[in-house]
């Protein structure tokens, strides 16, 4: 179910037997000519599912942060990958849980438009294509696929496996592993060292084991995270609607039968579980993007766009390091994350935010958190640094019209000015008419690819001079030499004492010699 090359996916194991064998339902025998016809069949029995799904982020792509009041969600936000889904839904809404969103005309009130199969197909053969045509520059991106066997996928439905969620979440940012660093196709069939929970041979968790759901609402949000969960496992028999480690492991997860366990539990209030238990990101042989440079986009050979593949990732596959339609990419694998105090509250630079270009890099998302903030803990992050177009006159980010079979689409005309003007105009945003490039950074909290306990970070990784937390200052932490003045005074005192003694010895020898001489 991949969007670019669509390799065949071997689905993960189903999570226990169902009380219903969907292949025997008359409603699902077909024939079906399209996705919405399957959806109608699903909803004829699951008569609340449609209403439920239409309230979720997977459907609305809209989220208003109750704390900051900021309007977020893919419908609105500007990121520092392909920059904006808005206005490019014909391409980007491949990952919308619905059929046919290509422009403003999409009907968010029609339950038939819901795509049940993208989450519930268990054959591994279901796939989606862009909702509208792009320019010829993008035509090569999609392999020919055989038609979907609608009755087969409809009858296969079950609870989502990793490949279902992963068909979108592993490919965010424009390709396998690009966006997150801790989410990529290697997790479809993970081994123990890659993720102790998703290990095919071990616990084999589906995403929804942690991201528990009620009425199709899934727990776990990076707009508003539980940076510090003090709720623990909750009361016996009562599941908490959160995706935190603590909701299963409790808030004192290390065995208290040793000094080590006690000391580790002493960290829980200040250090996120992920910080020690995810020693490195992109460990599964799939690279993640850390640097994107739009400034170099638009180079042509013989009047045509091209790609360079100068990176071979751990699993042997080539990755594009340059695309005319996107610019230059820098990848990383198996790398230590960045660390920061994080209180769970993400603030975004939106299309409406005016910034001062002197403050580069502009944070696409930022957060607060400090050593003395009880809600904050030290979290691992993947940081993405990008040079991307902005409105030089208004000092705002921009919506670009990238996708479309028209003359304004950047992926075809390679003309930023025109693509930005079109993107801003069609979404009713002011544009000064002059664009430039600005450096931005985005911060992606790391929480997947949890290593087995024996691979967790040792104490000395952080408790050391130039350790992993060297950049976090303003609090005392042993092992870093955090009291340099005291240390200098102390060592100086010891040195002076040693010097004094040496002098005294010398004096004694001199006096003794003189006495012997006299």
């Amino acid at each position: 179910m991949h969007f670019r090359l669509n390799p065949r996916t071997v689905p993960t194991e189903s999570r226990g037997p169902s009380t219903a064998d969907h292949s025997r339902f008359e409603e699902l025998q077909g024939p079906f000519a399209s996705g919405p016809e399957v959806t109608r069949a699903c909803l004829s029995c699951h008569n609340e599912a449609g209403h439920q799904v239409m309230k979720t982020l997977h459907w609305t792509w809209e989220y208003t942060n109750p704390e900051t009041g900021q309007k977020l969600g893919k419908k609105t936000l500007v990121n520092n990958f392909c920059t904006n889904a808005r206005g490019n839904e014909g391409m980007c809404a491949q990952c919308h849980a619905g059929y046919g969103w290509k422009d403003e005309s999409f009907d968010f009130g029609n339950a038939d438009n819901i795509d049940c199969l993208v989450c519930h197909d268990r054959t591994g053969t279901y796939y989606r294509m862009p909702n509208s045509r792009g320019n010829d520059a993008c035509a090569i991106m999609f392999d020919d696929k055989g038609p979907i066997d609608w009755p087969a996928v409809a009858q296969s439905v079950g609870l989502p496996g990793r490949e279902n969620c992963g068909s979108c979440h592993f490919y965010g940012g424009g390709g396998d592993g690009v966006k997150h660093g801790d989410l990529d196709s290697s997790l479809v069939h993970a081994d123990r060292s890659l993720d102790v929970h998703m290990d095919d041979e071990g616990a084999d968790f589906a995403c929804t084991v942690c991201h528990v759901s009620t009425e199709h609402q899934l727990a776990g949000s990076r707009y508003q995270m539980h940076a510090r969960d003090t709720g623990g496992t909750g009361r016996p028999g009562l599941r908490r609607g959160v995706a935190t480690c603590e909701s299963c492991h409790g808030d004192a997860p290390h065995p208290m039968d040793s000094l080590q366990g006690m000391k580790l539990n002493g960290h829980v209030d200040r250090v996120a579980c992920q910080t020690c238990h995810i020693p490195a990101i992109a460990r599964g042989g799939v690279a993640t993007l850390v640097d994107w440079d739009w400034r170099t986009a638009g180079r042509l050979r013989n009047g045509e766009g091209y790609k360079e593949h100068d990176y071979i990732q751990g699993n042997g596959e080539e990755r594009a390091t340059y695309k005319s339609i996107k610019g230059d990419f820098t990848y990383t694998e198996n790398r230590a994350p960045d660390y920061a105090w994080f209180d769970g509250q993400m603030r975004y630079t939106t299309i409406d935010t005016h910034f001062d270009p002197a403050d580069q890099p502009i944070p696409i998302n930022s957060f607060s958190g400090a050593p003395d903030d009880p809600a904050a803990r030290i979290w691992p992050f993947k940081r993405v640094d990008t040079f991307q177009p902005y409105d030089k006159g208004n000092n705002t980010l921009v919506y670009m019209h990238l996708w479309g079979d028209d003359k304004d689409a950047y992926w075809g005309n390679y003309d930023f000015g025109r693509a930005i003007a079109a993107g801003m105009r069609s979404n009713g945003k002011p544009y000064s008419g002059e664009y430039g490039f600005i450096e931005t950074e985005s911060w992606w909290p790391i929480t997947h690819m949890v290593a087995p306990a024996e691979d967790a970070l040792g104490c000395g990784e952080c408790h050391a001079r130039e350790g992993r937390l060297a950049s976090l200052t303003g609090f005392y932490m042993p092992g870093r030499g955090d009291t340099p003045t005291l240390d200098r005074i102390g060592l100086l005192a010891l040195a002076l004492a040693a010097l004094g003694m040496a002098g005294h010895v010398l004096l004694r020898l001199l006096v003794a010699r003189r006495r012997r001489g006299s």
Binding site: L259, C459, G460, Y476, L486, A497, H504, A512
Partner: protein, 221 residues
């Protein structure tokens, strides 16, 4: 006055001294590693050793305090100004001129006044300081609420480390002074064998010979 070889350091006292030395050396070595002054031992190993040695020293101290109180040995540390000036003068220049050490160990007073004062300061100020801060440090997770307490921890760590520097300084002087006014080994020997030449009144000598037979060596023996 007669001079006799008397056991001035009992077996427990010697055990206390040397095990305390080993524990303090371990604590200093691992403590400075934890603080970040050296990396000769892994951080986690240093933490476990440091904590273990500290707990060991607590137990040793409980015994030592009990021993001092019940045997009356604590009186050896009572400060006195009597002879203090002479001792200070000796360490300042008398020893350079090869003068004999002005202090004669007495059976009831085995430390010279300066020495007793130094040990008293160590036991009344430095050791309590490092104990209080060390226990506060060890139990940090129990008293510091999340987000609060790091400022206090900084203070605790600074005092703990400062006390550690002071104790190392003490140990350096302590060892160095063993070379002053006699031979190093000669000064160390009593803490190994327990016996040292001590001036006794005839009455003390008679008492020791009569009642504490093992604690005094026969004349010329």
């Amino acid at each position: 006055m007669i001079t006799r070889s008397v056991r001035i350091f009992s077996r427990f006292e010697r055990f206390w001294h040397w095990s305390q030395m080993a524990l303090i050396a371990t604590l200093a070595f691992t403590g400075f590693a934890i603080h970040g002054l050296h990396r000769l031992v892994h951080f986690d190993a240093a933490v476990y050793l440091h904590t273990g040695a500290a707990l060991g020293l607590v137990v040793l101290w409980l015994f030592a305090i009990f021993w001092h109180l019940t045997t009356g040995t604590w009186r050896h540390y009572l400060p006195t100004s009597k002879g203090l000036w002479r001792i200070a003068r000796y360490y300042a220049w008398g020893n350079l001129r090869g003068e004999p050490h002005p202090y004669r160990k007495a059976w009831r007073r085995k430390h010279n006044p300066l020495q007793a004062l130094a040990y008293l300061v160590l036991k009344l100020f430095l050791f309590p300081l490092i104990w209080v801060t060390g226990i506060a440090y060890l139990t940090y997770d129990l008293w510091a609420g999340a987000g609060a307490g790091n400022g206090t921890l900084t203070l605790v760590a600074v005092l703990h480390t400062a006390a550690a520097f002071a104790i190392v300084l003490f140990v350096m002087l302590h060892v160095y002074l063993l070379t002053v006014g006699g031979h190093f080994l000669g000064h160390v020997a009593p803490m190994v064998t327990g016996f040292e030449e001590v001036e006794l009144t005839p009455a003390e000598a008679a008492y020791l010979e009569e009642s504490e037979g093992g604690a005094i060596r026969s004349e010329g023996g």
